[in-house]
């Protein structure tokens, strides 16, 4: 086992440190996957889930809504239309959250590199914690990928979700390049970053300025009787 880095742990009294340890220990062992089949790699997920490979052994189980989930599996290529929905889903998930890019297409476009319809580098639009390459990766590969994610979480090394807050400007810029300047999501990422103390150097920038200019405040849902 690798030595656990001290600086990754929150400073404070012993009790809170023990609590953090426990928290991280449990977090590594209970991962809820969002049930969203974005691409063709999703066909290898049922075998992973079901009787033969049984990922519940690792404490991983599918959940149906982004609010409940911890892991966003991008199973293969994401078309631009899907990417919009993936962004909405990603921002709705509660942190700490992890993104796993399954299949070669999430790395570099895969065999659809010529295609006008698919996004090529997933890493540009959201921070990815782990890639499982292959077209498509076998269930064993997915399970071993999940295992290494579990190990990373336990060691406190998988903190990529913080990057999204800290470098929001970069990610937003790439999204705007693809979706146009009017792009906005219902989630107030900057507000969340401020609230949870995750504002970094890259949180604000030219792209967030564009966002603040075009952003229309969300209205509360109309109540009708």
């Amino acid at each position: 086992m690798k030595e656990i880095k001290v600086e990754n742990r929150r400073e404070g009294n012993i009790l809170s440190r023990v609590f953090d340890e426990l928290n991280e220990f449990c977090r590594a062992r209970s991962l809820f996957i969002l049930h969203y089949c974005t691409g063709c790699g999703a066909i290898e997920l049922p075998p992973v889930m079901t009787s033969r490979f049984d990922m519940e052994r690792l404490g991983v189980q599918p959940m149906v809504t982004p609010r409940q989930a911890d892991i966003l599996l991008i199973t293969g290529y994401v078309s631009i239309k899907t990417l919009k929905r993936v962004m909405l889903t990603y921002e709705q998930m509660g942190s700490p959250k992890y993104v796993i890019g399954i299949c070669s297409c999430t790395v570099n476009g895969g065999m659809y590199w010529q295609s006008y319809a698919t996004a090529k580098k997933l890493d540009e639009y959201m921070p990815v914690d782990l890639y499982i390459a292959g077209c498509m990766p076998r269930p064993e590969a997915i399970i071993s990928g999940l295992r290494s994610l579990i190990r990373n979480i336990e060691l406190g090394e998988s903190n990529n979700w913080k990057k999204y807050y800290e470098n929001y400007d970069y990610y937003l810029g790439n999204q705007q390049k693809l979706f146009g300047d009017e792009w906005q999501t219902p989630v107030d990422v900057i507000g969340e970053a401020e609230h949870y103390g995750l504002v970094g150097e890259g949180t604000y920038g030219e792209h967030t300025e564009i966002l603040q200019r075009v952003q229309q405040p969300l209205k509360p849902l109309e109540m009708r009787l």
Partner: protein
């Protein structure tokens, strides 16, 4: 206020609201969406929304060599990929006038039928899961995995086999492979009674599935429904029998028909087709050792192959219905145009919209899964 400034605001009744089924929804097969307007529990309007899986296959194929596209086409339908490459190869063979050796044809039939069994096992599980019974899904996917193991052994890929070439198949079957096929087929057949007890004789499931999403024969003909969904309405039509390709005319099998046309009938048709596929695989396993000869007809250097100008329309009965490739060549290195007619393009859009409307919220997912809609075929 002046009259021309007055904008009438329409307030829908309070029990009416919009609901998005998908794209991120467990009740949707794959990455697809259905926007429904619900009044109480009843759906008054449904609109399919596709394109989430669009990769521009047809454009990609125009940019790649004829032979490169073989590895591209299986990705069009993920649960049942084998018919795609066979159909594409058949289309090229027809244009260039290549005769496929008999042994290759039998091996292709083996591949197609194994793929069909796998796809049907997958569909049951999905259908059962939409009604809240997850055990058939767990069993079905695990049993399907045995077939994927077979595929891995003889083609090298679990899902995408990329085993065909225009003119034949790539490799000879491994030693002792046919014995393994019969073993797996026997095992799956022995499992079927358990599926029956769990699923097909389950009173609650029958109550849920009967009368849901009824397609009459007239309507399914009008709307271009094909495959098991058409046979569930009482029309005995199967491309394997009525537009025979490969060696299906030498094989003995029945075209399964059900009359009711609802979700239950569609599932029953698939259940019985499973048996027919097992029957076909047995015949192929019995016949293959006696059929010798080449594995593929000679083709020019595939990296510089110019398929002669012409066009062809090849059709295959996939597990979802009529799958067709319209391939046009202008004599170049790359296809001029490949049009994929996915079977789900019909029943996942217009038919689904129509069947869901007037139905209940709890039956949307079931209707979609019982139609065995495959969104990547729609989006391509």
């Amino acid at each position: 206020m002046r009259a021309e400034n007055y904008q009438q605001q329409s307030h829908p009744p309070s029990n009416q609201f919009e609901l998005n089924f998908g794209p991120n929804h467990p009740g949707i097969e794959g990455n697809y969406a259905l926007q429904v307007e619900v009044e109480g529990d009843v759906i008054v309007k449904a609109r399919a929304d596709g394109g989430y899986l669009h990769r521009g296959f047809e454009k990609l194929m125009e940019q790649r060599l004829w032979i490169q596209n073989i590895s591209l086409v299986p990705r069009i339908c993920v649960p049942d990929p084998s018919p795609m490459e066979v159909c594409y190869s058949m289309a090229i063979e027809e244009i260039s006038g290549i005769e496929v050796p008999e042994r290759a044809q039998w091996i292709r039939v083996l591949q197609l039928e194994l793929s069909r069994i796998a796809a049907h096992l997958f569909t049951f599980g999905g259908h059962a899961a939409t009604t809240g019974m997850y055990t058939p899904m767990y069993w079905g996917v695990a049993d399907r995995d045995l077939i994927l193991d077979l595929f891995e052994e003889f083609t090298g890929g679990r899902i995408y086999s990329i085993y065909n070439l225009p003119g034949g198949v790539r490799r000879e079957l491994p030693d002792g492979f046919l014995d393994k096929v019969s073993e797996v087929i026997d095992y799956i057949e022995s499992r079927l009674p358990e599926y029956d007890n769990l699923f097909f004789r389950n009173a609650v499931f029958i109550k849920r599935a009967k009368g849901v999403g009824v397609l009459t024969q007239e309507k399914s003909l009008e709307m271009g429904v094909t495959g098991p969904n058409l046979r569930a309405t009482g029309l005995a039509f199967d491309l394997r029998r009525d537009d025979p390709y490969l060696v299906y005319d030498k094989l003995d099998f029945e075209v399964v028909v059900e009359e009711a046309g609802d979700a239950w009938a569609r599932t029953l048709v698939r259940r019985q087709e499973l048996l027919q596929s097992i029957r076909i695989v047995r015949q192929v396993v019995a016949a293959l050792p006696d059929i010798g000869g080449e594995l593929r007809a000679p083709i020019p250097n595939p990296l510089a192959w110019r398929v002669p100008a012409g066009e062809s329309y090849a059709r295959v009965e996939s597990s979802k219905g009529e799958l067709a490739y319209f391939v046009v060549s202008n004599g170049g290195e790359k296809p001029w145009r490949v049009h994929v007619r996915g079977p789900s393009a019909m029943h996942a859009v217009q038919v689904l919209e129509e069947l869901v409307t007037g139905g209940r919220v709890e039956d949307v997912a079931q209707t979609m899964f019982s139609l065995d809609a495959c969104p990547p075929e729609v989006d391509r």
